[in-house]
């Protein structure tokens, strides 16, 4: 009872990275709270799931195996979670801020009347004092996310409602196994007790999943561009530099919104989180939502014509100049001095 639950996303028998990252975070939080970590998997042919999740320190795995549960549709997965949560009364429920998690989470939270915080960048446990009512809450989930406008970070709590729900994007949390032979229990549920025929009102007629074209998450070098790059044509300079020194191109949301770059490449709170060895920020001002996705880069170089751009404060090297003049010089030097 009152454990921490993580909803695991499954595609082709594989648990999604984001779910494993949440299990890692969940394990840490469960240790702080002194409760168990439980995972939920709903889909079809789930035999291999246990072996994938137990090493992350999962104490119980709830399996809902039924051909009708794959691919994902909203109502049946909602019914599974709502009923399971009514029975198990988790104190915390986490899911990925993905196409699935952001479809499922709000529905489950609405059905249970519990709060949900989207896109958290950090999760912690702590107390809260409600001075007006003279009430003290222990062990609440602090759901921390950058908020409106840019320069602020908000800590959200749900004092009264359970479960405390949050979604987190892929890449924000680290993925780390506890032990290869961690032992947990498998609990197989009878799916018909959880879903009803009327839940199957949406039929998936066609489905085409593609592997992502970019690999920014895994790249040791990222050349990222912002609105200051100025045009799609200028963005080509970033692609040239990335190709020359062996990296991937990333972008700020303003650059994506302006059509300079693809959405897949967006870095930040609502894009991917990266931790490369080298991050070259070109024409990026450095709002908190962007920084949230790249601040753990080992070395940061900022190329910006404004010497006071906020990103400069977290940069190791600041080049005060324009993208148009600086990048060609970098490319030229590298080409001349390596084979």
């Amino acid at each position: 009872m009152n454990n921490l639950f993580v909803y695991c996303e499954i595609e082709d028998g594989q648990v999604a990275d984001v779910s494993l990252e949440l299990l890692t975070k969940g394990r840490g939080l469960a240790n702080t709270l002194g409760c168990k970590l439980e995972a939920v998997a709903a889909g079809h042919n789930l035999e291999g799931i246990g072996a994938q999740v137990f090493p992350y320190g999962v104490d119980a795995l709830h399996l809902f195996d039924d051909a009708r549960l794959a691919p994902y549709t909203s109502l049946p997965h909602t019914s599974v979670l709502v009923k399971l949560f009514e029975e198990e009364k988790p104190q915390i429920a986490l899911m990925g801020a993905t196409s699935i998690g952001r479809d499922l989470g709000p529905r489950v939270s609405s059905a249970l009347g519990s709060g949900l915080t989207a896109d958290c960048t950090s999760l912690e446990i702590g107390p809260h004092e409600e001075k007006k009512e003279n009430k003290v809450y222990e062990n609440l989930l602090y759901q921390i996310r950058p908020a409106f406008g840019g320069n602020i970070v908000a800590t959200i709590i749900n004092p009264e409602c359970r479960p405390q729900m949050a979604t987190v994007r892929e890449g924000v949390m680290k993925k780390e196994i506890v032990s290869a032979d961690y032992k947990g229990e498998v609990i197989r549920h009878e799916v018909n007790k959880y879903v009803s025929d009327t839940d199957f009102v949406v039929a998936v007629i066609d489905r085409q999943m593609e592997k992502s074209k970019t690999n920014i998450k895994g790249s040791p070098i990222i050349v990222a561009g912002g609105y200051g790059v100025g045009s799609k044509e200028n963005f080509q300079l970033l692609h040239d530099l990335a190709a020359t020194i062996g990296g991937e191109v990333g972008a700020s949301r303003a650059a994506v919104d302006a059509g300079y770059s693809e959405h897949e490449r967006q870095i930040g709170q609502t894009g991917v989180t990266v931790r490369p060895k080298l991050y070259i920020a070109c024409g990026i001002s450095g709002q908190i939502q962007h920084i949230a996705g790249m601040q753990e880069s080992s070395i940061i170089i900022s190329v910006n014509n404004d010497p006071n751009a906020p990103i400069n404060t977290i940069a190791d090297y600041v080049i005060t100049g324009t993208v148009e003049e600086v990048l060609p010089k970098m490319i030229k030097y590298y080409k001349k001095n390596t084979k």
């Binding site: 406008g149 062996g246 709170q269 908190i288 090297y317």
Partner: protein
């Protein structure tokens, strides 16, 4: 076949154009510095509704927006593009709502509108990027939802076929009406205002706006009832005040912090050939690149 469509649209501060004056010296948001706009993905949603109206004559589009009095602008913007009417849900008691309290209020207003085949909203509002209100409204009304729609392909015999854009692919799904659809920014842009509709509706006003208007054309509203925009309060939609606004919100903001980055000690370079050559040499020597 004709459809009754409700479009949910929100007025949002234009966070995409956050300028340097967006934050006040005390670290709070300077809302006055941000223009209020039609949430971009709600325009994509409106366009999907307008296309259905083109395809199925007799279809009607009703906008529903919750916000302060000036959000009536959203309804006018919708009318200028071909919507048929709209409701502004406005009440002090709605203030401070999180997504759950917002969805509750909106769902109560939809119950008041009563007749609908389809509710279309944007995927997410740019002020919070939560993407929660659509699915939560659906849940509160006991309807299913189809999220991330890029194209409503057809509506036939009570069924709707929709192409969805997911993170890693596309899906075509079929659902039964009525339901809630949330529309992605990758869907076609909304058509511009139509000059004829602008002429027709530019004096459309809510009761509060009318009180501030010139007496001169107050009688206009009697002769042209379509210029009356309905304003609804908590009581008008039979909502329970306890479930609205701040008191109806399970999530609370515990703390807002100004972000002060741990400033690193950094090296500032001029964009000269020598400086950049030195930097590149260093990066190659310490194996950061190459």
């Amino acid at each position: 076949m004709s459809l009754k469509i409700i479009v949910l649209a929100k007025q949002v501060p234009d966070t995409r154009n956050v300028g340097k004056d967006a934050m006040k010296a005390d670290g709070t948001v300077n809302r006055a510095a941000l223009p209020a706009i039609f949430n971009p993905e709600d325009l994509n949603a409106l366009e999907q509704a307008l296309r259905l109206k083109d395809a199925y004559p007799g279809t009607t589009i009703t906008l529903l927006t919750m916000g302060p009095g000036r959000a009536a602008e959203i309804i006018r913007e919708g009318l200028y593009r071909g919507a048929d009417g709209g409701y502004l849900l406005t009440d002090r008691a709605f203030a401070g709502a999180d997504t759950l309290a917002t969805s509750y209020a909106i769902s109560m207003a939809i119950r008041q509108i009563k007749e609908y085949d389809l509710i279309i909203c944007g995927r997410q509002a740019i002020d919070g990027d939560t993407a929660q209100v659509g699915p939560q409204v659906a849940e509160k009304l006991g309807l299913t939802q189809i999220t991330y729609a890029e194209e409503i392909q057809k509506v036939e015999g009570g069924k709707i076929t929709i192409k969805r854009r997911l993170e890693r692919g596309v899906e075509v799904v079929e659902g039964k009406l009525p339901l809630v659809v949330t529309v992605n920014g990758s869907a076609p842009d909304c058509r511009p205002r139509n000059a004829k509709f602008v002429q027709q509706y530019k004096h459309a006003k809510t009761i509060t706006e009318k009180q501030e208007a010139d007496a001169d054309y107050l009688n206009l509203y009697d002769s042209r009832p379509y210029l009356n925009l309905t304003e609804w309060s908590v009581a008008d939609v039979d909502a329970d005040v306890k479930l609205c606004g701040l008191s109806g919100s399970p999530t609370k903001v515990k703390k807002i912090e100004n972000v002060i980055f741990q400033a690193k000690e950094n090296m500032t370079l001029e964009p000269t050939d020598e400086a950049i050559d030195t930097l590149m040499r260093e990066l190659i020597l310490n194996h950061t690149i190459g």
